[in-house]
Each structure stands twice: as C-alpha cells, then as structure tokens.
Amino acid sequence: MPKRFDQARPFLTLGLVVAAWLIVPTVFKTFTRASFFELTAPVSVAASYARDLQEYWSLRLRSNSELIEAGRDLARLNASYDLAVQQNVEMQGEIARLEAILRLPSYSGYRSEHARVVRRDFSGWWQRLTIRKGKNFNFTVGSPVVFSGGVVGRVSEVFAYTATVDLISSQTVRLAAVVEGDIRPISYQGGLNPTFSSAGGVIEFVPLDIFASANATKRLVTSGLGGVFPPGLTIGSVIKVEPSTDGLFKSGEVKLDDRLAALTEVTVLVPLESY
C-alpha cells in the first residue's frame, strides 16, 4: 500500500465517520446524544461530590475559633431569616384573605427545590449550568431557577439525575420583565456575552417615559405576567436606555449579578400543577 495513502488514512476515516453521521436517522442521533449525557452525568456528579469533599476537608483545617465565629454569624443570619419567614407567612395569609374577598385567582404555586451546581459551561454561544437534580425530582423543562440574588435562568434540559439550566445571560432566554415600580411589560433577553466579560442582557419595548443610566440605575424584575416566573424577582440593573429611531419605544442594556458566574447552589421552582 502506498505510503501516501497510509498518511491520508486518518482523514479518510474521519470523512467516512462524518458522512455516516450525516446520513444516520435523527432518532439515532437523538438517542446517542441523550445516552452520552446520561453516561457522562455520573462523572460530573462524582466530580461535584469530590469537590464537596474537598471543601469539607478544607473547612476541617480551620481553627475552632474561626468555626465558632462562623457558627455565630450563621445563627444571627438564621434568626433574621426566621423573622423574614414569619413575616412572609403573615403576608401570604393576608394576600390569600384579600384574594378571597376580591375573588381574585391565586398565583400558581411553586415547590422550591435546591440543587447543587456541578458544572458551568460558559461560551460566546451559550451560558449554562448543570445541576445535580433532574427527573428524580420531577423537574420539567422551562421551570424557573432562582438564587438569593434573583433569577438564574430556566431549565432547558432534564436528565435522569441532572438538569441543564440556561442562564439569563444566555441569548436563548427571554422573559417578560417590568422596571420596578412600573406595570408595563417589557421584553428582556440575554445579550451577547463574550467569555470572561461581565454578564449582561438587553431590554426592548421600553416605554418612552422610563429613564435610566449607569449613574441612576433602575431595578429590573420579573413581571409575573408571562406565567413562568413569579413576579418581583430581580433580573438585574438597567444601566442604559435610549430611544429607538422609530420613536415608539426605548431599548437598553441590563447589568446582571456578577455572582451568576460563580453559583454553587440554586433553587428550582417546580410548578405545583406539574408535580
């Protein structure tokens, strides 16, 4: 066999594989892809557990006085949260009473499910997280994901033990938002976020009487009108709005929470009707 042919063999093989992949049925491709994720999920999960163990041992190295101090801080935080929880319960009761008096329909309920982040996948194309819970906790595609700073994103894929979350910095996420204090819905969508840059998004259809700048930002929150996200969750800060040339609306930029890039724990809001 000529030597030149031997040298070309890898390329030929690659070409044949690509050609074969192109002609195999879509069902086979989908099955292969899903299987790949299901098979690699345990590896990611195991790596996540290993990281947890690593953190555990690193904490074991802390001095007793440090741990006691942290324990005190935690106790104070817990006390304040306990108070907030009590107030929330009272407010929910009041809301339920008012809804009953006014015969208003109740907001759809959600079940909160906390999940550990096992992997972050940021690129110029998408910005995703993989979390350590999936179908085993009845997650559904489209469920909202939040953290202490507001909205994280939406569940885009659900596997047996993991789920993929599209971050709100991703261009594939769009939601109905309102500027805090206003009731008119505007469209928020993740922006073009190059790797290593701070995350941002864009807003469109902003009414002309809304003003914001980098020095006078406005909080952007979920409207609750879209039926996916509950109202009032923080999306980010509007740092710029400028009128479009057609004079009908403004469009603008939103700065997202920097902690989105370093999340370790998120909460998935599972709609109760789907549970």
């Binding site: 261009q171 109905a176 819905p185 004079g247 009908l248």
Partner: protein, 662 residues
C-alpha cells in the same frame, strides 16, 4: 531493421520523414482559429466589460428582494407640549412564511401520501394540496399560540393564500393588537429562535378622543410607502402598510409628519423564499417623522368644546399679537380614536348623518349679522359719514329705504337719538341702515376687502371655504344679473343679505380690530418667539377708536350681551369688548320651511390692551325659536376668555411648563 528503414523510405520518398513547417493550407486554418479565438475573447471582454453591470443588475433583481417598513408619524402637540396626537404600539404575533419552505414541502408530501393510501378517487390538484399543506403548517403554529393564550383560533385559508402569493417575505399576522398580558405571556413562552415572532407596528393614538378632531384630521392607509435612503429601488419590493394624512393638520403637514421608511434587502432562492441563515444584504431602521407643535391651547379648546356642548356651531380664539389660533372648535365632531387602526362603515355613516365631517369654523360661510356693524362703523367713520359725537338718525323703530320699510329688530322704537357707542351696544339697526345709505355699498365692501373678509385666511388647513362674499354692485350684476338696490345696502350694513363670512374670518377681524390694524393672518403653528404682527393701521382717530371700543364694552355691561355681566363670566381687572349678532338662515326641517337663527358673538380682551380675540357662531335648531348672540353665543366666548385669564394668572408653580420639541 534494414527492412523497416526501407519501408519508411518507400512511404516518404526519403530515408527520414520530416515535418513540413510551413504549409499555406494549414496557415489558413490558423487564421480562422485565431479569428474565432479573437471573437470569443472579444465577446467575453465585451460581456465582462460592457455588459457586466447589466448582468449584475439582472442577478440582483432575480435573487434579492426588498422589504419596506414605514416610519411612524411625528407627534402633534399643543402650544404647552400636551400631546394631541401620538402613536400607539400594536403588538402582534406573526409567522414568517418564507422560513417554512421545508415544512410546507414535507406536509405536502404527507398529505398527498395520505390521499394515495386511502385510494381517494378525488385527489386534489397540486395547487389544492399546497394550500392544504400551508394551512396545516400555519395551523400547527397557531395551536402553539392557542395553547399559551387559551384561545381557539383557526387559519383563514383565503387570507393565507393571498398573503403567500403577494407578500411572502412579509410577516403573516396570526393575532393583531395583543393586550399587554397576552404579549407578556408570549414573550416568555415562545421560543427565541422560531418562525413565530412577536412583532410591533403602530397606529395613531388620540388621547383626547374628539377634541379638535376636524382640526387635527385623520390618516388613511398608505399602500405606497417609499424610501429614498434604502437602495434597490429597482428590486421587487414588498411594502408594509403605512399611513398618510387625509384631513386637517395630518393632511396639510403630511410631508413633515411622515416618517422615513426603513427596511431590508434579503437574498432569496428562485422560488422567492428567503435564504436560510443569511443576514440581510442591507438594513435601514425606520425613523419617526418630525413633531408638530400647534398653537392650539388644549385647555381652552376643551373649555370651548364643553361650552358649545351638543349645539351646532364653531368657536375660534386667536392670540391678538401673533395671530396664533388658540381654539378652533367645531361641533358636531367625531371621535378620532375610532379611526385607529381604521374607521368602520357604521361609524363613517354616523359621522356623515350628523354632518360632522365639516369643520364649520373654516368651511362654513354664514351671514355675520350685527357683528358686521363693527365694520360698518369703521367704514362710516373713515368715510366721514359717522361722527361718534353726533347722532346719525332718530330711531323710531323703522326707516324707509327705497320703496321698502326696514324695521329695527332690537328694542324697536326705543333707541331715539343715539350715538355710536350706544348704537353698537344696543345694536340699533336704524342707525346702521342710515349709515349704510350715506356710506354706499361700494365703500362698505371696499372696507370689508381691506380687512381681507373677501378671501381665504390662508390658515394651514385644507377645505377652507371659498364661499365668503363681500358684495357690491358688480357682484350682484355678475352673479344675479340684477342691479344693486339701496335695500341691498341696508341689509349688508347689518351683516345680512349677500354678506357671507366664516367664523375664522370673524375671529381674525376681531383680532385686527383689537390691534387697531386691518389684517390678521391666522396660523396653527406655534412659534415661541413669534414677533407681534404689524400690518396697516385701521386709520381711526383716537376719539373714533375710543368710541368704537367703548361701544363694544357697553355691549357687555348694558347692551345686547348684558347676560355676560354676571359673576359667572366676570374676570377681575379685565374688561371684555364684544359685539353680538343674530342672523337668519332658511332651512327645511321635518317638511317645514322657515328660518333658524345664527347666534354670533365677536370679542377681545382686555379692551385696553387686547391679548385674545374670539368669534363664536352657533346655529339654532328649531324654526322660529329665540336664539341670539348675547344669550347663546356670548356665554361660550366669555367662558373661554375667563379660562384664558385664569390660566394666565395661575401661580407659576401650577402652570403647565412649556416644553421644547425637537
């Protein structure tokens, strides 16, 4: 070997065969070949160098399509920056049919296969199958919307086919005018990348419904949107519908208000579908039209319209110093919000039945009645036939002119010897019949022409009437073929007979008298630093001027408009100068012919240093009813004038802040 050489020698005659380098017969073919090559090269060069642009243009025309999107119209504001006409977004969910070529084909094959498998004898034609495929695919997308919004909408096959055939590259609207809640749901639930998209168009927004409706006007559909800034005017172009002014300011200022169209140029395949995953060759954003700041004062306009109420008539208020029109009200009117996005037949028929299309302030021509006596007074004083300090005649209730007896319609027989201020205040007809007889009609008409009452005012509105008449003997001879009689002069001197003017003209006349000049060109465009008008002086002596104004003030305090001399209309520190008028109009109502009264009132204030002038004309609605200028038209003007001074004297922190429109 020797044998072979011999054979060769036998064939060529020589031991070695040699090639003949020059053969005339071959050279001939060289020339032919060279000629052909030259022809080919020349042809290629010709096609490339001289016809390259042509082929390039043909290629562009074949595989590029242009989409034009109209720019929103500019806003219309009142003089204080209150929005009179704006734009309202209309949210729609649309489907880009040109992205569904593959799906249409797949569905076509599936439907055809189903028919064949069922062995249906009546297999539809290919065109019918394509229609079924398109409806099926579009319905599948519509089902997504139905599921999100809880609706049960079906595809209109006829509309879909029409859109597919004519406007393939334009988005196909599935639902238009979405309420905010539905729009918010779709934002969150529709996939970001999909042929289904949310789309916004705009329509005119009228926050004050019927206010100044005939003045503002309305827009109609413009099918012929053009763009000078987007290239490719030679390409096949799909145009989205725009709007064009049809009446009022929308029509007159259409070039200013009209937005600049934007659009895109896309590459398409031979069937006209947009090429997938290709960006637009060129994109231009539409730009909103320029804003128009009118001289209208919204607060005064609303006050005037409210004061007129359900009556038929018009009211015009003018800034005396600049000629800017503050109020231009006409009743009946129509609700402009019914024009957005388009007026339906029932509402159009209703407007027609009520006669509400006509802007009576500029399009109506009416006899001005006794308000015209101000012009007769001026003409008489300038001609020397009226001396304000001397009575003109002894009013005994009637006067003989020619072979006709004319009566005084105001307090018959009680005026006696009356001076000019009293004649104006009491509107004594006998005084003016006598003045007209001494003055002659030609001089009276000339004075009217001096005040430009014989011609259009030139206000920036369409359909201003041409029917105004300032009659003289030449007019009657020309139109009726009859000679002018002294009785005609008597009628004209009190604003009756052949005299016709519009309410706007009378408002301009009042403003001119207020400024002691002869011409007030009105304008509806607000210029914050507009200079004070300066035209020819009326030419009265101070005494004459004083008598004229005194008569107009007395009209309010003790004359024919004394109904306004009550607290409801009094303005502290401001004297109103006015003149009432009541003219007649022959009408047929319910099969009965008779006259209805036209109630007039012209005025200006303050009498000493005028700022605002007004004219109000109202039509009575019942034959023979008591309907007059002092009782009916006066209160409308007095209400507006009072509002004007209330606003002017309002504390600075409560005033509307004028704004600057780019």
């Amino acid at each position: 070997m020797a044998s072979d050489d011999r054979n060769l020698a036998d064939r060529s005659g020589k031991l070695f065969e040699s090639h003949k380098g020059y053969d005339p017969r071959v050279v001939f073919f060289y020339f032919i070949t060279a000629g052909l090559l030259l022809l080919l090269g020349g042809g290629l060069a010709y096609q490339q160098l001289f016809r390259g642009d042509l082929y390039h243009d043909r290629e562009r025309a074949q595989n590029q399509r242009r989409i034009l999107v109209p720019g929103p119209r500019g806003n219309i504001y009142d003089r204080h920056g209150e929005l009179l006409v704006g734009n309202r977004p209309r949210f729609a969910v649309v489907l880009y049919l040109d992205e569904l070529r593959a799906r249409f084909r797949t569905e076509f094959i599936r439907i055809r296969k189903n028919y064949r498998e069922t062995d249906d004898q009546e297999l539809p034609t290919a065109e019918q199958l394509w229609t079924l495929a398109r409806v099926s695919v579009v319905q599948s997308y519509l089902e997504q919307i139905n599921a999100i919004l809880g609706r049960d909408l079906k595809v209109d096959a006829g509309r879909l086919n029409k859109h597919f055939a004519r406007d393939l590259l334009l988005p196909y609207p599935l639902i238009e005018d979405l309420p905010p809640a539905d729009y918010a749901r779709l934002i969150e639930r529709l996939p970001v990348v999909s042929p289904l998209q949310l789309y916004t168009t705009n329509t005119r927004d009228y926050p004050h419904a019927s206010t100044a409706s005939q003045t503002l006007g309305f827009v109609g559909i413009n099918e012929d949107v053009e763009s000078n800034n987007l290239s490719g005017s030679d390409l096949t172009t799909f145009k989205m519908r725009g709007s064009i002014g049809r009446d009022g300011l929308e029509l007159k200022f259409d070039p200013l208000l009209q937005g600049e169209a934007g659009g895109s140029i896309f590459r398409v395949d031979p069937l006209g579908y947009r090429l997938r995953d290709t960006k637009a060759v060129e994109t231009l954003l539409p730009v909103q039209g320029k804003n128009l700041v009118t001289s209208i004062d919204l607060d005064l306009q609303l006050t005037a319209e409210q004061a007129i109420g359900d009556q038929v008539g018009a009211a015009v208020a003018i800034d005396v110093r600049t000629g800017e029109v503050l109020v231009l009200a006409s009743k009946p009117d129509y609700d402009l919000s019914k024009f957005a996005p388009r007026l339906n037949h029932a509402d159009a028929a209703d407007i027609t039945a009520r006669g509400a299309w006509t802007n009576l302030a500029i399009s109506g021509a009416f006899p001005p009645g006794s308000t015209f006596k101000i012009l007769t007074s001026i003409a008489g004083m300038r001609a020397g036939v009226i001396d304000p300090a001397e009575p003109l005649d002894h009013c005994q209730g009637s006067i003989q002119i020619g072979n006709r007896t004319f009566v005084c319609n105001n307090d018959r027989g009680r005026h006696g010897e009356i001076l000019l201020p009293g004649a104006i205040a009491q509107s004594c007809d006998i005084y003016y019949f006598a003045a007209g007889r001494l003055l002659t009609q030609d001089r009276l008409a000339a004075e009217g022409r001096r005040f430009h009452l014989h011609e259009r005012t030139g206000i920036e509105l369409p359909h201003e009437t041409r029917r105004m008449i300032m009659p003289d003997s030449e007019y009657k001879e020309r139109v009726f073929g009859e000679k002018w009689f002294p009785g005609d002069t008597a009628n004209a001197s009190i604003g009756q007979g052949y005299v016709l003017v519009s309410p706007l003209q009378m408002a301009c006349f009042a403003a001119s008298v207020a400024r002691n000049e002869v011409h007030t060109p009105p304008t509806l465009v607000h210029r914050p630093n507009a200079p004070t008008l300066k035209t020819e002086s009326i030419g009265l002596t101070p005494a004459q001027r004083s008598a004229l104004v005194e008569g107009m003030v007395l009209t309010i305090t003790e004359g024919t408009a004394k109904a306004l001399n009550i607290d409801q209309f009094k303005i502290p520190g401001v004297r109103l100068a006015g003149k009432t008028g009541t003219a007649q109009k022959i009408v047929t109502k319910d099969g009965k012919t008779g006259t209805i009264n036209l109630a007039w009132f012209i005025c200006f204030a303050p009498a000493d240093n005028p700022e605002i002038a007004m004219a109000v004309m109202l039509e009575g609605d019942t034959i023979g009813e008591e309907f007059g200028g002092g009782r009916n038209a006066g209160p409308v003007a007095a209400t507006v004038i009072k509002k004007y001074f209330e606003n002017k004297n309002r504390p600075a922190d409560q005033k509307i802040t004028p704004f600057k429109v780019e």
